[in-house]
Symmetry: C2
Subunit: 458 residues, 2 copies
């Protein structure tokens, strides 16, 4: 329970309407987009500027109240679930574009702006932010940075953190700091910017971000190619990656993912291992590359190869890809999800995919595997009926086998979703030798442990 | 003085011949490639593997001995000067390539290998490490990582840190840790890898690095274009950058730099503001781009435009560029150098260059300005006669004016050389609000303060 006196302090800092404790709002902030257990916060705060965030943290610090920051609540590992109750700091009202530097290809934004909204605005300057997750139509930039999100274009452009030049951050005590630089290169002191990127709100609250941009990608070409076997699609991917063809995206969808999409979107795609390959560049050059890709795929005996002929056709295919999540979740009543997000070195993808098929067969569970094959990043999504007593347990066992295999192959337990609640145990397996260092760093930034408690470390 | 008992412990750990205290060797390790004051170490150690490094640090820790790691001593801000005496840990004997992963475009190396030697070896696999400083023919990978070096290809490929996937590091206490992952994407816990990159040996000793690679660049094309005025060359650079032509390098040399090179290498280059622009890709496409670049430069009234016609011609031009440092240093007797290394947002380059010309005029000092204009990274090199009493002071005042202007323009006090000894005061100006955090992080990694003491922080 948060006392009336503290609530009054927050109201004095933010104004009456920005301090909310009605049931609906608390409930909405009790969970993210995952199936991790929800937890009601005591209060939701909606600051509108950095000074207000600083005031909130000062009050929280003085009263040792847990503070869980959030944007649009789209995280998938419980990253924004207020596990210890306390305050949720909802930054979605801070969504201004502060300044565009067209000649520097840079923009300064507040954290609450949604990815697609940012790109719509940037289009006026012929600029584009190329690193974003598949959820960028609903996810906020702040959340993307706090989780160092990846996404479909990462194979060419890198992940969100690669495009962050500088951050304004409020520390747990309410102090405001700036890290990074607008200079393209800087080695002035320790790289605190990279430390804060991906720290999931456990080290500080991002209140402004300076992002690097590229010119709008005006010419895009999309290939959809299907194979009878997963291993053929993987072999084709490796050939493409080794041939220096610089695809903007290489996405993989297994037959199960396609089945779900077909049902959900009323499509009739081949229910086979499928690659979506996007090329960015001048038409003649890209069409020549598409033909080279076709030949590489032919060697792996594709069953269909489509180069989308219209913008409309491209858009429809991408909408299908982006529908995997809702399609899987809508496929049966009472479904809950254990969302996988592992990464393996690309040479180990064949071994990894073989293992996934083995786990699926042995467990008898419904799985859909898709993801950013060009980065070796796969989402093995395991659903279970939440009304069946051991459903969660069985799904977790299978998911664990898959993560452990990824680690054994030299990979990672989380490529782009973050650790949150769901990957804390696996983080110990992956980086057990540095967990103590991480905890000490956490203690440097947040000695009272009020920022997003219970995340990353158990 | 290091006691005989401690020396015996080191000899037991490393073997008799790897523990050296003869005057010549101590003296060689008393300075780097800069003019910062030298300091004799008490002992130089040459470990040959990680276990030996760990043993050295355990002994140093037990005896609270300062430890300054070094590679090939090519740093330019005193980064590897053993300011507190004690031990120099010379890692240049650890120069093995541990493993190449051709299908992953990755290699694991020891820190002592020199950049060019690595690329010669990688060429056997048709692989290439694209991020390296101009000194890569003499600089070691470990030093490049510890200083997060940049260089001539950074405008296209990024800096050294962008190509580091994982590190093995020995902590001050002698513990061995691994950070990062061979997975292309990973968000498993705090980004300790980026924290260690560029930490200048103050947080830990790098004993192995996993690097990302690209296929060998087989087709390169080099343009050399001259302009009467600095501002014309800068305007041309900005046009090229904004036109999405993806140059592999855009280097700037001012008339003074060219004069030095001409004299040193007996060349007859136009003594004017000069750009060297390298393009990487398929011949027909790149020649078309070269023509687009020529037109953009024509708008700025170039006086000469050369597209190198042979490999030999290209090589000769690059050798000229790489000779700036020795050429400047050989231009008069008793010269010492204050090496500038600032970065500014590219839109602010014209303002910055105007300022440099003003400072040069007002100070009457000999300066040579060159650098990686495509990244807004300039080396303003100010020389002074070390036999003149106030020479250093005057040079420092001028250098300070230039750094302060860079900071005022939103830039950085050090783009690629690191803080070392020379930029400690400016780091306070640039990141004063986070210095305490940095010091606390230093304390987490190195509570006794034995690692490279006196660097980064005063």
């Amino acid at each position: 329970m948060i006392s009336n006196e503290i609530i009054s302090q927050f109201k004095a800092a933010l104004g009456e309407n920005s301090v909310v404790n009605d049931e609906t709002d608390l409930s909405r902030h009790s969970h993210d987009a995952s199936s991790h257990p929800s937890q009601m916060p005591g209060l939701v705060l909606y600051p509108v500027n950095t000074q207000q965030v600083a005031k909130c943290l000062k009050i929280a610090s003085d009263n040792r109240l847990p503070v869980t920051p959030c944007g649009k609540l789209t995280s998938l590992e419980g990253n924004s679930v207020p596990q210890a109750g306390g305050i949720v700091l909802d930054l979605s009202s801070m969504k201004k574009i502060i300044k565009v530097y067209p000649d520097d290809f840079q923009v300064i934004v507040e954290p609450g702006i949604v990815g697609e909204a940012l790109n719509q605005e940037l289009a006026k300057y012929h600029l584009y932010f190329p690193a974003f997750p598949a959820s960028s139509h609903i996810a906020s930039i702040g959340g993307m940075i706090a989780n160092n999100a990846g996404g479909m274009y990462a194979v060419k452009y890198g992940v969100v953190g690669d495009w962050v030049m500088a951050l304004e951050v409020v520390l747990a005590c309410g102090e405001i700091i700036k890290v990074g630089s607008r200079s393209i290169k800087s080695v002035a002191g320790f790289d605190l910017k990279s430390l804060l990127v991906g720290s999931e709100g456990t080290l500080g609250i991002i209140t402004q971000a300076t992002l690097k941009l590229i010119p709008v990608i005006t010419q895009k070409f999309l290939i959809k190619v299907c194979f009878p076997l997963v291993k053929q699609s993987v072999a084709a991917t490796l050939s493409i990656l080794l041939s220096n063809l610089e695809p903007g995206a290489i996405e993989f969808l297994d037959a199960s993912s396609i089945k779900h999409i077909n049902h959900y979107k009323s499509l009739r795609w081949n229910e086979e291992a499928t690659l979506l390959i996007e090329l960015h560049g001048e038409e003649k050059e890209m069409k020549a590359r598409a033909e080279r890709i076709r030949k590489l795929c032919q060697k792996e005996n594709y069953t269909s190869f489509l180069l989308a002929q219209t913008q409309e056709e491209m858009k429809k295919i991408w909408e299908g890809r982006k529908a995997v999540h809702p399609a899987v979740m809508a496929s049966a009543p009472n479904l809950a999800l254990v969302p996988g997000d592992v990464g393996v070195p690309i040479s180990r993808i064949p071994d990894f995919m073989e293992w996934v098929e083995k786990v699926q067969k042995e467990s008898g569970l419904t799985m859909a595997t898709f993801g950013h094959v060009g980065d070796g990043n796969f989402h093995v999504w395991i659903t279970y009926d939440r009304t069946i007593p051991d459903g969660l347990q069985k799904a977790k066992v299978a998911a664990g086998k898959i993560v452990e295999q990824a680690l054994w192959l030299g990979g990672t337990c989380t490529a782009e979703h973050g650790v949150g609640i769901g990957k804390r145990d696996f983080l110990l397996q992956e980086h057990g030798d540095t967990i103590e260092l991480m905890k000490k760093i956490k203690n440097v930034f947040d000695p009272l442990g009020i920022l997003n408690p219970g995340k990353i470390f158990a």
